[in-house]
């Protein structure tokens, strides 16, 4: 692809960079496309595992412009090369800590320190596991959060999916390609998922749904063997033999490194006014603050807003 560097990089790789973007999902990468095209030197600390939640999906059917759908990982590759095409520097490393009391800001990643005139927090959210005993111990031994990765290990087997949102529907659909039977366990009596996703699941003969049901325990030593369930409608309990359990009950914001540095709400999401945080020069975009929409396209939209707000901020005399 032709390179069109609008943004020059600082001579010293440590910076100061006009903007350091922490995170590399749709929010972070879209922000980088806007900041680089606005000629701001841009460093993306993309994380040891880069690309965000879409890297663990198969076909994404609701991202505008892809009328036939697009593979999540391919979409992320394209966003990344688009940002790099305009001069973004991409490092697949985790930001370990930040110092917001210094100007420019300091960010430590491994044994390196980077300086930033502004920061965009775009660390997104990560899988929430069930609290039930046995679940964490059996991760990789039948318990998973990535059906596209692990579904083939459950060929001809019986698996359960826990959750009621779009990602639970997606996991269940993917699993039907391999498993003999897929049981969706949901604690309410209706799904939060979009009508299209629900339809796909409900008309699939391999999928059964257990409403008003919670997993209270995962059983198995060497591998998952069964789940203890509780029906919240009549308080009855039961045991369901399964070989796999796919957890899709939602996500928690990845904000550990910002605790005590940036204002967070009681659930750990970054508090925001538009794209601004409580620290001047620190901006936020995507699932790390948004718990209402949580879509690839809204994350990208928030990323665009944060990118544009960073460019205005860099114009202000105090940011120089």
């Amino acid at each position: 692809m032709e390179q069109e560097f609008f943004a020059t990089k600082p001579e010293d790789p440590r910076g100061p960079w006009d903007v350091v973007i922490i995170g590399s999902g749709p929010a972070g990468l879209t922000a980088a496309i806007y900041t680089t095209r606005g000629a701001a030197s841009t460093l993306i600390l993309g994380g040891g595992t880069w690309g965000g939640q879409l890297m663990l999906t198969t076909v994404v059917d609701n991202f505008p412009g892809f009328s036939e759908g697009v593979e999540g990982p391919i979409l992320m590759e394209k966003m990344k090369s688009q940002a790099q095409r305009f001069g973004a520097e991409f490092l697949s490393v985790n930001a370990d800590s930040i110092d917001v009391t210094k100007s420019p800001f300091e960010i430590k990643a491994g044994d390196k320190t980077y300086l930033a005139r502004s920061i965009i927090i775009a660390t997104g959210a990560r899988t929430l596991w069930l609290d039930a005993p046995g679940v964490k111990e059996l991760i990789g031994k039948g318990v998973s959060s990535c059906a596209p990765c692990d579904a083939p290990f459950f060929r001809g087997k019986k698996v359960a999916v826990v959750g009621g949102g779009d990602s639970a529907m997606e996991e269940a659909s993917v699993l039907t390609k391999y498993a003999s039977e897929v049981i969706i366990i949901h604690r309410r009596n209706e799904f939060k998922a979009s009508a299209a996703m629900q339809e796909k699941v409900k008309k699939n003969p391999k999928i059964k749904i257990l409403w008003n049901t919670e997993v209270v325990k995962a059983n198995g030593e060497v591998k998952l063997e069964s789940l203890d369930l509780k029906n919240s409608a009549d308080n009855s309990t039961s045991n369901l033999p399964v070989d796999g359990l796919f957890v899709a009950i939602g996500h928690a914001p990845a904000t550990e490194i910002f605790k005590g540095k940036v204002e967070l709400d009681e659930r750990g999401f970054v508090k925001n006014k538009g794209t601004k945080t409580n620290i001047s020069g620190m901006f936020v975009s995507g699932d790390v603050h948004d718990h209402a929409y949580e879509q690839a396209v809204t994350a990208a939209g928030f990323g665009c807003m944060a990118g544009m707000d960073v460019l205005s901020f860099l114009e202000e005399p105090q940011s120089k």
Binding site: G47, G48, T49, W50, G51, M55, L56, P73, N94, I139, G140, K141, G142, S144, C146, P148, C149, D150, P152, F153, F154, V222, K223, G244
Partner: protein, 108 residues
């Protein structure tokens, strides 16, 4: 390329009989986290050259070894020393997690 590809057939010889510890990467073509982990393991295989042998086993073409080692999620990496499993990492959690695992092979 310090890492090598192995199969069900040579698992015994290349892993269990190895004189130095061996890190086995169970992977598949369709697994995105596996593809992200690949270059990281390659880099580490250079860094740990002569200390730890990194090998890759494709779980689509070789189903006996993953089955006998209870692999139900990939990427899974298992460290073997003197024919025994001494550590396991499920999923790709970045370079540090792999390094932690490899250090076990050097120090234990």
């Amino acid at each position: 390329m310090a890492s090598i590809d192995i199969t069900d057939q040579d698992f015994e010889a290349k892993v269990l009989q190895s004189k130095i510890p061996v890190l086995v990467d169970f992977w598949a073509e369709w697994c995105v986290p596996c593809k992200m982990a690949g270059p990281v393991l390659e880099e580490l295989s250079e860094a740990y050259k002569d200390k730890i042998q990194v090998v890759k086993l494709n779980v689509d073409q070789n189903q006996l070894t993953p089955g006998s080692h209870g692999i139900m999620s990939i990427p899974t990496t298992i460290l073997f020393k003197d024919g025994k499993e001494i550590g396991r990492q499920v999923g790709f959690s970045g370079k540090e997690a792999f390094e932690e695992l490899m250090k076990k092979g050097v120090t234990s």
